[in-house]
């Protein structure tokens, strides 16, 4: 019987031919936790009688959510993580290295056909590398650290076909926001998504990460894409390993197939306080913004900084707006400096913060004030998400965020001079 991508990957990791609905214990290739989830995982590891991690080369802890530490409580949890990694002799990505979902792909240890668990809901990001990667809680993660395995219910798959290509000034972030608006916040709960079609094929690898990153915002367990020459070229920067791409079988069974023509899509925005509360930017254009955020695991990559720098170069951020930029990793930061993007952004008035999660999770680096509107490239706009439940968070593409930072109000980036010459 023909299989979906995720059925193939779980089959190859469980030694059984599995299909949607089966429950199996499968081997995992890589296990990761961050500073919001690792401390509980370490406690669970000890509580479960764990002694050593299953494979020192295939586990990592990442300090990215509150990096550098904003207070003594966080500092003591960071110390606990460092001591655990040192004692078990595996790598910990420390302050300044970046966001876990940029670092794990950059490690070269995850690629087509991999099975990854991470104690962070946006672990689904590596689906853009044709992997099955999913977010878990701390106790599941501790089980993975000890056993190198986890139990899974093999999910059904919804196939999302994006036909035609995106118009100029419209980016992968606009597409995924639109799709979440269509599918809704729980429209794919317990399912995997397969994203396919001409628009996905035409996208850069970096743009694809943005799409895969937000699968969980429709409730999905994972969001996978085919690996093509762009995927393999991206991986070759970080690894010499030969990966074999996984394709869905021709007769694979899908719970739903959704088809969209994306050629007329406009820039999109998710309004407070739901990620599926999506409208075209023009519907909310003109709303004053106090803070603009560029970064996060969704849109902190080099291409995102390039797009924003292209809009902001030689101009000044509006005097009523704080523009906060968090590169996704140290490598992205260095590359962006070499390309001159950081120079353009800082000259325009941006505040650059440590590579990491930045202000997205509300611990530091830009907690908004009561009544303020924030426009952000992040993936969540829940009430209180950025640390103040009286602030309003709008989610948009790097282009929309940069354009809005310039004008001081939510702005369709296609209205900016020169923008339509930029491509994604």
């Amino acid at each position: 019987m023909s299989k979906t991508m995720i059925e193939k990957i779980i089959s190859s990791h469980s030694g059984r031919e599995v299909h949607a609905g089966d429950i199996v214990v499968a081997d995992v290739d890589y296990v990761m936790a961050q500073d919001g989830t690792a401390p509980l995982a370490i406690r669970a590891f000890k509580d479960m009688g764990g002694e050593e991690v299953f494979n020192r080369d295939r586990v990592a802890l990442v300090i990215d959510h509150s990096a550098p530490s904003p207070n003594e409580g966080v500092s003591s949890l960071h110390k606990l993580m460092r001591e655990f990694a040192a004692e078990k002799e595996f790598y910990l990505y420390d302050v300044g290295e970046g966001v876990c979902h940029q670092l794990i792909p950059e490690s070269g240890k995850v690629g087509p056909g991999s099975l990854v668990i991470g104690a962070d809901s946006h672990t689904c990001t590596y689906g853009a590398l044709n992997a099955f990667s999913t977010g878990v809680g701390s106790t599941d993660l501790a089980g993975g650290l000890i056993a190198g395995r986890m139990w899974f219910k093999v999910p059904e798959t919804v196939k999302i076909v994006c036909n035609e290509t995106l118009p100029a000034g419209v980016y992968s972030k606009d597409l995924i926001l639109y799709l979440i608006g269509e599918v809704t916040a729980d429209g794919a709960t317990y399912m995997a998504a397969e994203y396919t079609g001409e628009a996905i094929a035409a996208m850069s690898q970096e743009a694809r990460f943005t799409i895969a990153n937000m699968a969980v915002e429709m409730g999905a367990k994972a969001g996978l894409m085919e690996a093509d020459d762009k995927t393999l070229a991206w991986l070759r920067r970080f690894s010499k390993r030969k990966y074999t791409p996984v394709f869905a079988g021709a007769g694979a069974v899908y719970s739903r197939v959704l088809e969209y023509d994306v050629s007329r899509l406009e820039p999109q925005v998710a309004r407070p306080h739901r990620v599926d509360n999506v409208v075209p930017v023009k519907d909310v254009a003109g709303r004053p913004v106090a803070q603009a955020v560029l970064g996060t695991c969704t849109n902190g990559r080099l291409e995102d900084l390039r797009i924003a720098a292209g809009i902001l170069d030689g101009r000044k951020v509006h005097r009523n707006v704080r523009l906060i930029v968090a590169p996704a990793s140290r490598r992205v930061f260095l590359d962006a400096m070499a390309e001159g993007f950081i120079q353009s952004l800082v000259e325009a008035g941006a505040a650059i913060v440590t590579p990491g999660c930045g202000p997205c999770v509300g611990t530091h680096n830009g907690v908004p004030s009561d009544g303020e509107t924030v426009i952000s490239t992040a993936n969540r706009n829940f009430k209180g998400r950025m640390g103040n439940s009286n602030a309003e968070i709008y989610l948009a593409s790097p282009a929309t965020v940069a354009a809005s930072a310039l004008t001081g109000e939510i702005t369709d980036p296609r209205e900016m001079p020169g923008i339509l010459k930029l491509t994604n």
């Binding site: 429950i23 406690r43 509580d47 207070n71 104690a119 809680g137 998400r385």
Partner: protein, 166 residues
């Protein structure tokens, strides 16, 4: 596993940021301290309204959002005995079972705020004592029932030295 308490009602899509905000959860492993802030963004008085054994009752997609296990733990440490919802987000659902917080899928439209409930997880029966009706319960998958009966995934690991599920 029989629980007796009253219903505290919430709507659809209660996310884990609402259950326990990121601004608290990154600072501490003291779950009793976190529990004081449970559901704070939806109801600042919630923790004080709960009597031991009460239930959180919600609509669809309860626990969506982040993977933070502090969410089910904060609920558990607030002395809530179980969460009843029309449906749950998947990571929260796993985390709840792994940490020993019972989660039950049922038609919560038949429960009003303040209703007195009797939840029998062994027989899979919910009795709304106020409305004098029994609500059918969607049974847990066998794997999860086994973990819950062992007291969570950690006791399961201690008992078997690893996974012993399938």
């Amino acid at each position: 596993m029989i629980f007796d308490g009253k219903a505290h009602k919430f709507g659809n899509d209660v996310n884990t940021d609402y259950i326990i905000s990121g601004k608290y959860k990154f600072k501490t492993l003291d779950m009793q301290a976190l529990a004081k802030h449970v559901m704070e963004d939806l109801d600042p008085q919630f923790y004080r309204k709960v009597s031991a054994g009460d239930f959180i009752v919600a609509g669809t997609n309860f626990g969506c959002g982040s993977s933070r296990e502090q969410a089910p733990l904060a609920i558990k440490y607030a002395a809530i005995s179980a969460v009843l919802a029309k449906s749950f987000a998947r990571i929260f659902y796993r985390n709840a079972i792994n940490t020993g917080l019972p989660v039950v899928e049922c038609d919560t439209d038949q429960i009003a705020p303040g209703d007195e409930l009797l939840v029998n997880l062994v027989d899979g029966v919910i009795t709304n004592k106020t409305k004098k009706v029994n609500l059918p319960v969607k049974p847990l998958p066998g794997v999860m029932l086994k973990i819950l009966q062992d007291g969570g995934l950690a006791p399961h690991f201690r008992k078997y030295g690893g996974f012993n599920l399938t």
